[in-house]
Symmetry: D2
Subunit: 344 residues, 4 copies
């Protein structure tokens, strides 16, 4: 059994880790930390966990965490910078769900996150945990950065086209729609039901922190700098991201895009290319570690439209974190992740 | 492996059976019928099932169904009446999610369902599948009637008090709130998002078909006729039933009600008595086979209020059906039913 | 034109006052206060008001408020206690939407609100603003207490039966369902979309602050003490209260209840008794100052069920406040309150 | 008083016409037709109209309709083709909310709507009712085509840029999100709460009927053919359209886009250009005849992003229809359309 520690378990990615790990046959949560909820039983805070956990939140203790085989960070950015190094030094492994180790360039990170990077020395051993791209590197790392939710949905949508060199690297547009759980469990007026239900709005059009992360991944796939316009929208639902990714074919003679996607993801357990003409709905992935995609070329013109849906808390966070853990610990990649989505 | 057939699999209880059985280690769905969707892959109709099922809907065929170890009916009332007998004669077992075999008195059934009972001869071998009451009888039956959603929530709330003889058998009130999935997947104006979202309304105050079923169960528990006022309400959410059950203590000296409930359900894997003072939320049981309860005595007066929540499609239908299957096939009762609720 | 001041205008009852007063032909908002939002334009905070108001929030100033013809308090309890007296002394009139002057007994108030009553001397001139009961007294008061949202829905449902002496004064049950806006615009985890959407739960079963207010009103109507069980539920929608009120007839020979309700409210512009057998939906009163009712006697037994719906922010707060203002200023009672509900 | 007839009043645009006309001081609904609901009171079907209308649905009668000053068609496409001509011949005026007269080219219409155009002779007198573009022509027409919901939101977003010649006419993208009321009140599985709530999905990526209508309008504004990619998404809310319109500047030296929009719409009562950096929410226009816009140029690059929100049933249908009626009857354009949006 893998002994698991979780730092910062009171938020939505924390409880989602607990939900998924409760059903994981090879992992056991040993410790979960929260300064504010010290001593509270996780099942008191999250009654869906009653009967599954006896654990209480505790104050973070490095020795205790380092005694775990792996420590998940489900914390705001900045926290893992200071703690991850200590755990690694003590022989632990770290899977960080925050943004702390996603961007390779510490200057760029500092620019978007408004503070200095707290652990630049660790950056060159941090691996970006998108298994559909980095599977082999993931297997051998001890410091894994779980991709952001928007970046996961957008990269899986655009990478096949970029890798194949079929689309222009400039002018790509990612129009993304996220459920409100993406804003976290913080007590903010902007996340109240009365403020978000029955309404749709864009936000951060001038620049969202996931933009440099997405550009890094797309540029890697393209082998050249990619220019992206990224507009996120707050959608009146709890879970789900729908990315609608627009790009322009370099040539009318682009071949069979459906086949391209099917081949690219033929062996991927957590990417499902839907039949031509499909429109994936976010609810089809609710609660499961899956990205559903469909590729369209309206009017057979030079515009490609890829539709990509994930559950932001699963393939966009906690599920992907466990997928990475499975790889890092030589387990079958799908272990504990074979749930069926809740529909309706 | 138990070979499973499903009659009428296109509705919400049908897809929920498929979702749960996909995760059941001892059962395998062999056939699923739908006249209207013959030949359609279940995964095309319900994309959440992609990767879990290759099965297509087929026209009901008695021989094929009788070759299964058990046949679930997820059909409108009246259908199981005519088909169940044939399957039983051919050596199969039947688990009926419809109302066809829930009420012991065929006259009463006819009065509420507006048609003659189609299989009165089978009624005396039909067992009402509320394991918390009938566990032993369930184990040996070949014809099981799965309780309705409201009846499950209300009976589990009231039975401890009635069995203990603590409350008056008249004047019981069940004020129930159900998500819209309780109305099924039929194309009805009254179930449109635009008609049900952002609104709350009662319905069927003059009399709902679940009333005689609930009264039958409560009267059994009380050992005398029980008089119930039952008002269901349509609630703007997909899943969930919240029953608020009001009754009057016979005496001020009623003892420790919390202890009464905890003892009554101490060995029940799918009933969770919450700590005193709790208010269970339907979301805490979303997607799982669980009834969460709390018992209150406001102002220490003579009124008892029991709050009871279930997922209408799981403990109120398909999950309970599988719980019964487990009992009928001598499996551990919880087999395949240990999911954790989706929260948020 | 009536010069209007509003104290505490940033919450949902505040913005609702602004919405309704923008359409009132005889009133003009002169000042709106908020310490935290001083200098912010109301239309910046609430974009639906763009084009309707140039006003900015200002710090409360007694002189400025007293110069208004009437001051609405849309504040947490306790605030009006200290400020109302000063305004009255300066010749102003006060319409208080908080609970500060609703309960006649200051001891009872202190017991439920956890602090001493701050203005007991004003209690004997405060008038409880339920026009369907107190219309004439309202016309001549200078200190008006707007009823709470639950109390409005429950009292209008039960008063006809109590006034007629048809029901037992004990054993009345009010099972109430409220939209989340009833919890206000405060940044609380419990009001987040992710915590309240797709879920139903009861709260405060042990005792809610509206209980003594409702009991006071029902006891007045009955001419004797009334015993009530009141259970509020948090419902996944923005606006609306649905009260389901259960009571027991003293005698089987109760006469025509439908006629009783129709006669009781025949001249009431803001109470709509629906045809026999109806089930009012909260959406039918969304955004409008109306209470829709229907009365049922299931199975012609001794139990009466009254269904009552209001918009908690309109007839349950700001609309009723304006209805009272109209009476206090000798305007037609319906002035500015003839909107049609938004449906769907 | 303008005597108004409504053909096809049972759908959502029909009831919305009734809601808005109830508050219009210069118009009176004389007749409303529905074959299926003949004899039913509109207030029985739509309880929000109780107290505002005594009218019943009647079977369409040309003489009766032609006796009205104006007839609104709130019908599926094809119906107005056959009836409008008769009404015009009898001296009436027609405002058609369907797609029947929006597209000037009957061949193009036939291609997208799958049937021959039924009234090509009327096309050259039909006026496209977008007052922000065609105000003067609207004043004098007797046959008005109300723009579609998506076309209204998209055109108002893109027209200022195209008229000014600032953007490339190819490569424009309109990523649109619509509430479920856009799908109408028909009893379709795809519009059920259980199918649409808590989910986001694109539809009709291969081609939506509003595409040719939008292209016609944008090409008019550009003075040349415009190439558009239009992807609509079904959003889990009742009302509202959010259009996110992407285009490319011809030159980096594009001037002050904020000023361009403010000037273009300076005298428009129903277009509100928000301050620079704003993100309009659909709820800010709920129930009102308003389009709120904001214009962004992320990173000061060559990409322009315009955010545009309307209520699909008001500025996207019935409100805009009344705005056009006001113009056609020489009333103040804003008559009866000054409501304040419902928020929250």
């Amino acid at each position: 059994m893998i002994k698991v520690g979780i730092v910062g378990g009171t938020g939505y990615t924390g409880v989602e880790l607990l939900r998924l790990l409760a059903q994981h046959p090879e992992a056991q949560v040993e410790v979960i930390t929260s300064r504010s909820e010290e001593g509270v039983a996780v099942a008191d805070m999250y009654p869906n966990l009653r009967g599954h956990y006896d654990l209480c939140f505790s104050v973070p203790d490095v020795a205790q965490l380092a005694a775990c085989d792996v420590v998940f960070f489900a914390t705001p950015h900045g926290v893992a910078h200071s703690l991850a190094g200590e755990i690694l030094e003590n022989g632990g492994r770290v899977i960080d769900l925050s943004a702390d180790f996603r961007i390779r360039d510490p200057e760029l990170w500092a620019q978007w996150y408004g503070q200095d990077h707290g652990a630049p020395d660790l950056l060159n051993e941090a691996v970006y945990g998108l298994p559909e791209v980095n599977r082999e590197t993931i297997r051998s790392t001890r410091l894994l950065a779980v991709p952001g939710c928007y970046p996961t949905a957008v990269q899986l949508a655009a990478i096949p086209l970029l890798e194949a060199g079929l689309i222009r690297p400039e002018g790509i547009i990612a129009d993304c729609k996220s459920g409100v759980s993406g804003a976290g469990r913080g007590a903010k007026v902007g996340s109240l039901l009365c403020e978000t239900s029955e309404s749709m709005m864009a936000y951060s059009v001038a620049g969202h922190r996931h933009l440099p992360e997405i550009c890094q991944g797309l540029s890697d796939a393209a082998g050249q700098a990619v220019d992206l316009t990224f507009v996120p929208h707050l959608t009146p639902m709890i879970r789900g991201i729908h990315a609608t990714v627009y790009s322009e074919l370099k040539s009318q003679d682009a071949g069979d895009l459906q086949a391209l996607f099917e081949q690219r993801y033929a062996n991927e357990p957590f990417v499902d290319v839907m039949p031509a003409g499909s429109h994936p709905a976010t609810r089809s992935v609710r609660g499961v570690n899956m990205c559903r995609l469909s590729v369209h070329r309206p009017g057979n013109g030079n515009r490609v439209v890829v539709l990509s849906v994930i559950d932001n808390l699963v393939k966009g966070a906690s599920g992907q974190a466990i997928q990475n853990m499975n790889l890092m610990f030589d387990l079958e990649e799908t272990t504990g992740l074979n749930q069926v989505g809740l529909m309706p």
